[in-house]
Amino acid sequence: MHEVYTYSNASPSRITPEGTLADLRVAVQPNLAVRGWPCEAGSRALSGYTALQDATVVARLVKAGAVLSGSSRMAELGFGLAGDTSARTLVDGHADVALITDTMGEVRLAAAGSGLFGLKPTHGLVSRHGLAGLVPSMESIGLAAADPRMIAEILAVMAGADPDDPSMPDDCTAGFSAAPPSGTESLTAGVIEESLSSLDPEERLAFDAGTACLETAGVTIQTVNLADYGLFKDVHHLIAAVEASSSAGKFDGVRYGHRSAVGKNWNDMYLNTRAESFGPLLKPFLFQGAYFQFERYLAFENACRLRCRLVRAVDDLLGKVDILVLPTRRPASDPAQAATIQATYAVFALTLPASVTGHPALQVPNPGVAADRDTGLQLIGRRLDDGRLLAIGQHLSSAAREGR
């Protein structure tokens, strides 16, 4: 088996050779439905499951002339990046753009780990139809690439109303344009002071060098405060666990996927199937979600209320500044480092805010430091300001190239 791909497209033929994305090679994760391809989402719960129809985004990309190169390895049901090879498809030259589901910051950190751009679009901007997801209110199909213009082109094709996903909010379905507004001058960026406390001195220096590049590009930097910053992690953890527990309820071995051979009646079959289906990281996460659903529902309700408060707080900040800037931190190269839920959340601490609030967030390779350094920039924009983030990223990257 291929070490990067779980499924490699043996006959990559394109449907629309003159489409806007003609010949662009796109790698997907195996949680995104491509008709006839295995769709196992890195989980035994889906072993042997083949997609019956294309996900909406897949159909749109293919129609626009893109070529699907294959599907990568991924962490079980996209929870974290353990074992994920999405970014490798780009680094090794197998694909131009990778679609990576972002629930905690996966597309941003996968990109950060390889010096690439990674966009988590505004939640609800891209149809989730055909995404075998885990946390519906937080996951977005993200895009990683070396060139942000490519991301913008693909996003323009992927975004917009889909009758198969009625959960998309009205503002996301009404004529989205990924066309970047021109210029970065007279923009104001806010650095959330509370987000910097976890950086060590070296990381802090790297981050400051990155924001200095933004200033050079004409962006005014100011420090802003988000007193509730410390809540993002717990709010994400609690809500994501509850939603994951619900979402994974469908994996019962009745209709598809793994079914335990052991059991003297259907109830046994059901219990054994689920016990055998989930891996050591996901299983306790589902237990936690079930615990809050069944035993601590009020805590879940409180988390939902706090989430609303966090969304308002971020919206308020984005009323005062045009974008927010946070650091990203390259994930530990050893996936086993994230073998516990706690460790996984620690890795993603800096990317959780935009997952909780649904704002668009772009990982930008830090132009202020050498390419192999660990600290990148994360730009968070207003809802539907995805195009602006990509334009700023593009501007930074070309300025850095010229400066060299």
């Binding site: 909010p169 259907w266 059901y270």
Partner: protein, 475 residues
């Protein structure tokens, strides 16, 4: 001690929308197993629910018919439990924000007085799949038929306002009549398109608290609803008198043995807001549009029938109870027939005949034109009442024209005085002793002679003409 029963009903009604609640599969659970399924109702990975506009509209119509207030915003929750009949591991239902609240229906209480029974709320939800457990053979297997999975239901939750089996039965009847009027649902207990769960608790008469309740399911007729509740009241009374505590659980009504038997401890799964189905936001304009589709409901129609057609309250109630029958009545009357006589014929002849056949009007050959023709012929004394009853049966059963039926059956009544004179003279000659009896002052004999004369005409004599002739001959 005397106890008072506190009864609340939870009623599931299957909406007759063309599709399931969240996908385009046909809403036909009875088709060949797993014929009506798709990635959404099988909940294959990557599927997302798409709320059916038609089901929503039918649900809103039903709520309006039950005098509920439609909520400006309602939303779906995931009712979580794990069972193979539930493809998602949760049922999409409205727990926190139901579609409608605060409704009511009026019933006639056991004392003859009007009683208003309140509805707490009505919510939309999807039905589950059907499990078939095959226990015969060496390896027992369980099969799942997903045709029913995702079909649209409303659940109507009453306030605990009912006190007797009578209240509960009348509540179900009133609710069923209202819902059928809207055309949103068939509401058949026998076929399972209306399912009643009863919550029953007891308290010392004169007190106000609510005690531990027991839920009873599986009543497939209105009578069974009444019987199951009556049984459960007796059972709980005996428990209390023996000093046994009432425990919250679910019982099944056994229609064969006519008892309730324990099924399981009552389980309520948690309800988590669903992140994928957009909230239902109702605008005034949209709601007015739906309200405009609400037909004239039975109470109003009944009042109008009294006013417009001079029906008595009983006649008006009978003519407005079922929508199809009320419309049948009105279009017959529109063909220049006397309303009270028409109503009388529908109640005394048509309804019993349909009941005998176990049919609705639509399933017979009877049309308003044919029925109006029959009554018209009767009015014009072309046929008599006895013949009209026989003709009605034929109008229901065969497509033959009314004229043809009258002709072939020889139903035309004898009104010609000449023919009847001969007939009467013959009868009087045959019964000379009775004639003498009458003339000696026994008036009862007249009825006997009338009967004999009618018999001699094979039931076809015009009774008015016959009676006049007899009176004249007997002097």
């Amino acid at each position: 001690m005397t106890y008072e029963a506190v009864i609340g009903l939870e009623i599931h009604v299957q909406l007759n929308a063309a599709t399931k609640l969240f996908c385009d599969c046909p809403n036909r659970p009875g088709d060949a197993p797993n014929r009506n399924v798709c990635p959404v109702c099988l909940w294959l990975p990557g599927s997302l629910p798409r709320l059916s506009q038609e089901a929503l509209e039918k649900a809103v119509l039903a709520c309006l018919a039950l005098n509920c207030t439609i909520q400006n915003e309602s939303a779906f929750d995931q009712k979580v439990y794990y069972y193979p009949d539930l493809p998602k591991g949760y049922q999409l239902s409205q727990h926190h924000k139901p579609l409608a609240r605060n409704g009511w229906v009026d019933i006639v209480g056991a004392d003859g007085g009007l009683k208003r029974l309140r509805i707490h709320h009505i919510h939309l939800e999807e039905d589950v799949a059907k499990l078939v457990h095959e226990t015969e053979g060496r390896t027992p297997i369980s099969l799942v038929d997903f045709n029913r999975a995702g079909t649209p239901l409303i659940e109507i939750v009453s306030e605990p306002d009912m006190r007797t089996p009578h209240d509960a039965m009348e509540y179900v009847k009133a609710l069923r009549a209202q819902l059928r009027y809207t055309g949103s649902a068939e509401c058949s207990l026998e076929q399972g398109t209306l399912r009643v769960d009863a919550n029953i608790s007891l308290r010392p008469a004169g007190t106000e608290g609510l005690n531990t309740k027991v839920e009873v399911k599986n009543m497939n007729s209105i009578h069974n609803v009444g019987d199951a509740i009556a049984y459960e009241i007796v059972r709980q009374t005996e428990c209390l008198e023996k000093g046994e505590p009432i425990v919250l659980h679910t019982r099944l009504w056994d229609p064969e043995r006519r008892v309730t038997a324990p099924m399981r401890a009552k389980f309520e799964g948690p309800c988590v807001p669903d992140p994928s189905v957009a909230p239902i936001v109702v605008t005034d304009a949209w709601l007015e549009g739906i309200r405009g589709r609400l037909p004239e409901m039975p109470a109003r129609k009944s009042a109008r029938f009294m006013e417009t057609y001079g029906l008595t309250p009983d006649e008006a109630a009978a003519m407005s109870a079922e929508r199809d029958l009320s419309e049948f009545f009105e279009s017959v009357v529109a063909q220049d027939l006397p309303p009270r006589k028409t109503a009388g014929w529908i109640v005394s002849q048509l309804i019993p005949a349909l009941r005998d056949r176990n049919q609705g009007i639509g399933q017979t050959h009877l049309t308003t034109e044919r029925f109006a023709g029959l009554l018209d012929t009767l009015e014009k004394e072309i046929i008599n009442t006895q013949s009209a009853r026989e003709i009605l049966v034929q109008l229901l059963d065969s497509p033959a024209a009314l004229e043809e039926i009258i002709q072939n059956g020889g139903f035309r009544q004898l009104s010609a005085t000449g023919d009847l004179e001969t007939l009467v003279d013959g009868v009087l000659a045959d019964h000379a002793a009775d004639v003498a009896d009458y003339r000696n002052g026994n008036p009862k004999v007249l009825g006997f002679l009338m009967g004999q004369a009618m018999k001699a005409s094979q039931g076809k004599a015009n009774p008015k003409v016959l009676k006049a002739l007899l009176a004249e001959r007997l002097g």
